[in-house]
């Protein structure tokens, strides 16, 4: 019943609007316009609701999950699994169980796990259990005691 009501209520309301409009306008062609307007405003409201938490919600590569390829994101990316390839994101967190092999571009980068490859970031934070190896270009760096880092470091 609830499934039907979900689908049927907007339809009914549109019908009602259409009915009301058809009462107001005797011309049949002009009726379509307001109906389309109500439809689009309904869709906008629907799209807006999930997109707002989408910005703060991170994309997650879970532990045990291996991804090969290119990841592009405007938001936050949490890696607890393995990624081989190219990553571009605003903020990247490599968890203790996370492994990244490849190229990484991000504004903010926190490494608690393992990273091998070429890194380009603004703000780099390396945790005490992290292993980092490669060419790292950064603006601000913070390495916590115990973090294992090797390779070329370039300050921009």
């Amino acid at each position: 019943m609830s499934i039907f009501s979900k689908n049927s209520t907007p339809d009914n309301s549109e019908d009602k609007i259409a009915d009301e409009q058809s009462e107001n306008y005797s011309d049949a062609a002009s009726v379509e316009e307001p109906v389309a307007a109500t439809m689009s405003s309904y869709e906008v409201a629907r799209n807006e609701a999930p997109s707002r938490p989408g910005i703060s919600k991170p994309s997650i590569i879970s532990e045990g999950f291996t991804f090969e390829g290119t990841i592009t994101s405007d938001g936050v990316l949490n890696i607890a699994g393995t990624v081989r390839g190219k990553i571009t994101a605003k903020s990247v967190l490599i968890d203790a169980s996370g492994q990244v092999d490849g190229e990484l571009n991000s504004d903010q980068l926190v490494i608690k796990g393992q990273l091998k490859g070429e890194v380009n970031c603004e703000d780099l934070n390396v945790g005490p259990l992290a292993h980092v190896d490669g060419t790292i270009s950064y603006k601000y760096i913070h390495i916590q005691r115990g973090g294992k880092v090797s390779g070329k470091f370039i300050k921009n």
Binding site: Y140, H142, Q144, R145, G147, K148, V149, S150, K152, F153
Partner: protein, 112 residues
């Protein structure tokens, strides 16, 4: 501790320029400029200190500037005002936020 027992310690005051090779058994505290090789058990480069050349020690704490080569067998700390360029060898490293690091980094015991 160093102030009480200065046996085997080297203090380079601000404005002092030291050139040559130095073997320091205990603490080397650098506020001036050192050009050459410096080996000590513990090396402190103060905010005004600058070293051009080779720096080797057990524990190294850098608030100033170290160029060319740094090797620490125990712990290397680069403070927020610190600036290190060149080849760096360490067994344990810590870099405070704001610290400047430019060069090649090598872990002395990478399999630990």
């Amino acid at each position: 501790m160093a102030e009480v027992n200065q046996l085997g310690c080297l203090f380079v005051g601000e404005g002092v320029v030291l050139k040559g090779n130095f073997e320091v058994p205990d603490i080397a505290s650098i506020s001036g400029v050192v050009e050459g090789e410096l080996t000590a058990k513990q090396i402190l480069i103060e905010a005004t200190g600058v070293v051009h050349g080779k720096l080797s020690g057990e524990t190294i704490d850098i608030r100033g500037e170290a160029n060319e080569f740094v090797s620490s067998t125990r712990s290397l700390i680069i403070r927020s005002t610190g600036k290190v360029t060149g080849s760096i060898h360490y067994s344990e490293i810590e870099i405070e936020k704001g610290g400047h690091l430019h060069g090649d980094l090598h872990n002395l015991n990478p399999h630990s």
